[in-house]
Amino acid sequence: MTLALILLSVLILGSAAVAIALRNLIHSALLFVGCWAGIAAFYLWAGAEFVAFAQVLIYVGAVSMVVLFAVLLTRQGNELEPVKDDSFNRFIRALIAGGSVAGVLLGAILGTPMDVNTASPAPTMTVRELGARLMGPHAAALLIVGVLLTVALLGAVVLAAVDRSDQPEDAP
């Protein structure tokens, strides 16, 4: 089990790191897809089946499409991103920031004694239970998320829509 976790970690962290470093945006987007798929695999490993499928459905199926669409629409796919003068400085600064955050987090994680419930096999949660909880105690949150998603969708459409008033009515 631990071995699987380590392998998954390598997959996730490796693809994420390479994706961040690559200059070809399409490649990084596809690597991000790999990273998300790895995270979904981690959820499966942890026994959260439903979340894993939701992760794949939403990240691999939808977010990645939107990202690729945005990359293509902004025509970044065919040429490499130009390296600007200030990017090295920013990279150093980011590295310092990231490193220090990592250090603090690692220290906290390793320094904290944890009361671990190592129930083996992994616990399961059926869809029915999940649904009951979502519609029961968390109904308000579900509703808000629904409204949020709708608003976000409409907002995205409004933001991205071209002002087509100069287009003929029969063209589309």
């Binding site: 994420a16 961040i20 991000f32 959260a48 902004t74 955050v101 949660m125 998320v145 071209v162």
Partner: protein, 103 residues
Amino acid sequence: MSQLQLCLVLSSFLFCIGLIGAMARSNTILVLLGVELMLNAANINFIAFWRYGPDHAAGTGILFVLFSIAIAASEAAVGLALVIAVYRHQKNIRLQEANRLKG
């Protein structure tokens, strides 16, 4: 190191990679993706704590992740719509140059 700690280390590294990406890259899409990674790192934590936490049946971790995924999806949609809008105005999507409120 216990499995929980491994998971937490994974998540913190992922978070840092996302942070570095968001800070170091100038391409708005990559910055957005870095933020997404940070969100994912948080999700990993939720699942890990649900897996090794005391109360599986409550499923709070799973529920939280579901909400978080929904929010991440809407963030991606709005963010990328913004990217496209910015691109339409200034012909590139370098974050540092998007410093005007008026197109």
